[in-house]
Symmetry: C2
Subunit: 377 residues, 2 copies
């Protein structure tokens, strides 16, 4: 099977780039002496996980209990569910743990700590918990200096849970405007979580795990002293937002959407394709970066970008491909049925719109496999 | 089963509002003397379709061949695939037609007309084709005065296809700034497609079907003389973009996402919930309207909006709920685990993120059914 035989739109994954991206992150974290607990919310596929994990016994991170359920079904057991837990999920979590998942949860407040502790006592299940730390004001977490931190830790440890440690996510690293700023953010992320760990330890509480995670900070971290593990996910595939942050190059992006030309509006310089926002997602993450890539960078069938050709607009199943405003590049002649590959702004969002990956290698057009992926909750 | 027992996030559909929205559109189009060929790209569910169609023999519109396949499997046969056709889909279309689908396709250029005609001759299948007309410069279509129109028609009719007529979609109606502007757009949409139909007829070509379709123009059309059918989809569920256009009220919106409070950042006035952009979609369609609703309007469990409470930001599985800037409303006290229902910007985009609807009626919290929905291509 070749790319040219596929019905469009569909999701294409370049296995060579995936392998290269994983090897680079592994080597970097090995050199820093921290372990990788990859976030599989980007991939949502056991086949991708097999290329990222060294063994099914390796630790993983997930963003939904559906992912935990799916990866457990494929033999992965050391799972961190990295979204603040709520009581309506306790039953599902208990079920996953009974079935062999070494599932840990996170939380960032006393009410949640009390609820999890009560659940742990009632079910006689010493559920492992990490306390979420706010390192950058981005969304959730306790700031390291907040007195609630020790109280949450004590509520958990005294309440029948396993207080496993602290974790944070430097979500603000996605908004950094230079490599220097990402490096500073990596230090800030580390300092926040290490400070929190030391605060817990000074209060006599255990804190074996100190976990950080974002692809930009993981890529540019130079010193992770005090940190035990890194959770990162987008690095497997990369995307245009990461390229705009200088976290990768365009040539590292492993994910693309295969589309076909369905028509032209020649006087407007538009090429209409059968991939719209349903195939690309509505993510416009590059809109706030220096180079706005619209809904994606347009490449030929083999993954080579056309100069300054982007998807400028998208309807549900229609994409409008055109030259970037102000360019001197010429619009390529792409007849009806011509196949394009479009690099996404955000791999997590674009991946989520599809149910399978079609695997290619480098600039080849042979499909070596189709890997299913999951969605939903 | 009650809403309070559901694991969050999940998609909730209010069947009373669905029925009311469908009845209103049916009554309006009956009064105008045109038939409804509902666009099922919003719903992607046979259970929803059963509430919209009077019988399975009724006509429908789809945006993917996967939808055509799915609805055919449930006994719906009169199907318009309303995205410009490309050769890589001919095999799938032929298969669907052999299995009993009265599947029609659309196109807007001579290359596509020649390709479909060649396919029709080669397969001895008189495939029905509508020519797509550009009524507003929005995306695809032939403008009514373009000499290509008659040439495309003749290529199809002489080439072994069934030239069934013309169709258009006033996508620009989503950008109208007043009801008067939508009414004007409805006239413009009708005039473009009726003019095109008359041009074909004057050239001796058949044009039995004259099809228009967008929820705003369908809602405000006052005279559809010359039009035979209306394709509209969002009207079943409605959403905040439609409310911003005055096409519906907030109380008409049948779709919402059920979410749980997972924490607070009290000094910032943030309530963190477990529905992020994965549950809401990245659609920010109200950003360009007078009232920006962020990622959605926040309601209580029973669907009643809190004053000026919206989702101001979203990560993959986290939503940040806060008061609209400048309001005098007070932030409601919503403890850990409290359930909220969030009305979406765009029903098509939010629905696509989910695999099922949980059905409620009005302000009740009993779940009467779970209806599966499809995705992908």
């Amino acid at each position: 099977m070749k790319l040219g035989q596929l019905e469009t739109p569909c999701l294409v994954l370049d296995e060579s780039r995936l392998e290269r991206n994983v090897a680079r992150m592994r080597a970097h974290l090995d050199a820093l002496g921290v372990s990788l607990r990859p976030h599989l919310k980007t991939a949502k596929s056991i086949d991708v996980a097999r290329r990222v994990l060294r063994a099914l016994d390796d630790p993983i991170t997930v963003s939904t209990l559906k992912e935990a359920e799916y990866f457990l079904g494929h033999g992965v057991r050391d799972i961190l569910y990295a979204v603040g837990v709520t009581p309506n999920k306790f039953g599902h979590i208990a079920d996953l743990r009974k079935r062999g998942a070494r599932l840990a949860v996170i939380l960032d407040n006393l009410d949640a700590a009390r609820a999890v502790a009560a659940h742990a006592r009632a079910s006689a299940d010493r559920i492992p918990v990490l306390i979420e730390i706010d390192c950058d004001g981005h969304r959730s977490g306790i700031v390291p200096g907040d007195p609630d931190l020790v109280e949450v830790g004590r509520t958990l440890a005294d309440g029948g849970c396993e207080l496993r440690g602290v974790m944070t996510h430097a979500g603000s690293s996605y908004n950094c405007e230079s490599v220097a700023a990402i490096k500073a953010m990596a230090l800030q992320e580390r300092d926040a979580v290490v400070t929190a760990a030391n605060t817990l330890r000074a209060a006599g509480l255990p804190c074996p795990v100190v976990s950080v995670g974002s692809t930009p900070t993981a890529t540019y971290a130079e010193n992770l002293a005090g940190v035990t593990e890194v959770r990162a996910g987008v690095f497997m595939f990369f995307d245009l937002v990461m390229a705009g942050l200088q976290v990768c190059t365009i040539e590292d992006i492993a994910l693309s959407v295969l589309a076909s030309v369905i028509g032209h509006q020649r006087e407007k310089g538009w090429i209409i394709v059968d991939a719209g926002w349903m195939a690309m997602s509505r993510d416009r993450g590059t809109a706030k970066q220096k180079l706005d890539q619209g809904y994606g960078v347009v490449c030929d069938t083999y993954g080579k970008p056309y100069p300054d050709l982007i998807m400028v607009d998208a309807n549900q199943e229609h994409g409008v491909v055109a030259l970037r405003p102000g360019t001197r590049a010429a619009l390529p002649e792409l007849p009806l049925g011509a196949q394009l590959r479009i690099l996404p702004n955000h791999a997590c969002a674009t991946g989520a719109q599809h149910q399978a990956y079609q695997l290619v290698r480098g600039d080849g057009d042979a499909i070596s496999a189709s890997w299913p992926r999951i969605g939903g909750w």
